[in-house]
Symmetry: C2
Subunit: 338 residues, 2 copies
């Protein structure tokens, strides 16, 4: 005989709606009642049939979060805060990885366009992404976080990457650097493009420019920073400072400097972007541009919840969070040249 | 009018079963055919109703993967290989985080015991975990990876953590260390318990033992290693070598040594466990005990697929993978004492 939520209600001495609310962790239900319902459900080995339930309510209480590459430590930290926010509103979070572009289109989209998800947060999207356009057309609630896609009218939560790039240029030139290199992230992402845009415009304001031979780009990885820094420092006239597209690239650049026995920050300044936890580790003490990840996650989840709860016609919002400089030990005025 | 898979089949010029197979990325369908089906589906804005489909087949082609804390870089690397393996067999992977024990029981279990998942891989489980016992009782296919739970007859894929601990003791004593400390992981996990067990038994074989004042334990985090190393090195008679419960703890210990201006490896040897990618970074060059993560992931996914495809009564398997020493630059014979 199948155990129903009514049986659980009787066992726990509460109403059936209370059982439903308790099981989806509704904040209106007290912790004591939740505990009683859970224990009753456990005693009866009650397992709510998720599929049947979602057919009735039309809601799955499940959201998808699409990330690029969870090996970039930025994403685990981001997912961590997003995950906590969804737990608070009683939603489960499903991680979808879209590292390979072809894979995103062929595998992730069919998953998202089924009825399995109430909404989705994209934390990654190449600039020409047709995936987001597709989902919006199908009226799936979507929030873009951290990156954005051009020409789509959809809720966005982003850090001011252009402003952050400008702060980087201002800070390094302010220290007295004139020959500054950049190891950027992937060219087809908005984060990378905006950081570089802001950086170039910031240099220009100080009568400087980014020399072509001092510019490298690649995936957001340790390897990109390591190789980029190696190449820049082997130039006839190496830079005295390098601005990196994100912190992981900067950590790779620091490792290359270590390999080349270049003293940081005396002989070379290195500046990152993001302020991941590792940036503050003793081994690195990386100066960086911080984006307020927790607050961004909070707003992204709120936007998505509002989208799920209301008509899709509401005008799209765009919340931009300021970035700020975190000075640590990898930046200083230019010193002895090597 | 609703677009069906038959419409897509007509549009693509293939049979309806071919459309289904192509959409779930069945390896028997050629890439060319998959492309044609995808394009036809896109032209018609076809979106297979996942829920209706799963009600018919009784399968969701979705597996859950429960992890502890994705901020420990071991997990993103592990998830990365597991994810790739599931992609190959046409399954989607859903990440469930169970950092907090209470949260695992109250939130993750109700999710897993609905019909949303065909099976689940646990990459984390405290030793007294009732969650796994519960799921096995409900006949949900389960594979335990990386850690195990006592008293449950269930497929297990683990590294030889006891053997790895023994290798660590053998290596450090072989270098000539006699006063050796340990900063272990959390006491309620099998990995941590087994590594320590092997380490103690290895020391004993060389007539040594782990002094109580040279033993610390905590979560698998940078902070645990940092604080543990700080405390051990401030002892009246500090150790000349420290074995760490995992690589992240070891990186924290290295940072503490840096802070204390203790030279590695001349004044102190530090040995990790896992061999995560960061261990090989220039900044760390961490000596460690490696577990063969890719091969373990491959077998775990194969086990789960076999469980999903057959009766639950098949006897449980237990595949143990050997661990091995990776010598880098953080270990050496004991030198100048500090």
């Amino acid at each position: 005989m199948t155990v129903t939520s009514h049986d659980v209600a009787r066992e726990a001495g509460v109403s059936q709606p209370t059982v439903s609310r308790a099981l989806r962790n509704d904040p209106r239900i007290s912790e004591e009642t939740k505990r009683r319902v859970m224990e009753a459900a456990q005693r009866l080995a009650y397992s709510p049939d998720e599929i049947a339930r979602s057919l009735i309510t039309g809601r799955t209480r499940t959201v998808g979060v699409v990330v690029a590459d969870i090996r970039n430590p930025f994403y685990p930290e981001l997912l961590d805060v997003v995950h906590s926010e969804f737990m608070l509103v009683g939603y489960r979070m499903v991680l979808l990885e879209g590292r390979v572009q072809a894979h995103t289109r062929d595998q992730v989209v069919p998953l998202l366009t089924g009825n399995a998800f109430d909404g989705v947060i994209f934390t990654t999207a190449t600039l020409d992404s047709s995936v987001v356009v597709d989902l919006v057309r199908r009226e799936l609630p979507v929030v873009l976080m951290h990156r954005y896609v051009e020409g789509v009218n959809v809720d966005r939560v982003t850090a001011d990457n252009v402003g952050g790039g400008r702060i980087a240029a201002q800070f390094l030139t302010g220290l007295g650097h004139q020959r500054i290199g950049m190891v950027a992230g992937p060219a087809n992402t908005s984060t990378s493009r905006d950081r570089e845009l802001g950086f170039r415009s910031g240099l220009k304001a100080f009568g400087l420019s980014l020399a072509k031979e001092l510019h490298r780009a690649g995936p957001y990885s340790h390897q990109t920073g390591y190789q980029g820094c190696m190449e820049l420092m082997k130039q006839r006239r190496p830079p005295t400072a390098i601005f990196c597209g994100n912190d992981v690239i900067a950590l790779g650049a620091l490792d290359a400097a270590l390999r080349l026995r270049i003293k940081i920050p005396q002989q070379l300044s290195i500046l990152g972007f993001d302020d991941i936890e590792m940036a503050s580790w003793e081994s690195f003490n990386l100066s960086t541009i911080r984006q307020p990840m927790s607050r961004m996650a909070e707003v992204a989840v709120r936007f998505l919840m509002e989208r799920i709860g209301q008509a899709h016609e509401a005008p799209a919002r765009n919340q931009l969070f300021p970035t700020n400089l975190i000075k640590r030990n990898t930046t200083a005025p230019p010193g002895d040249s090597i």
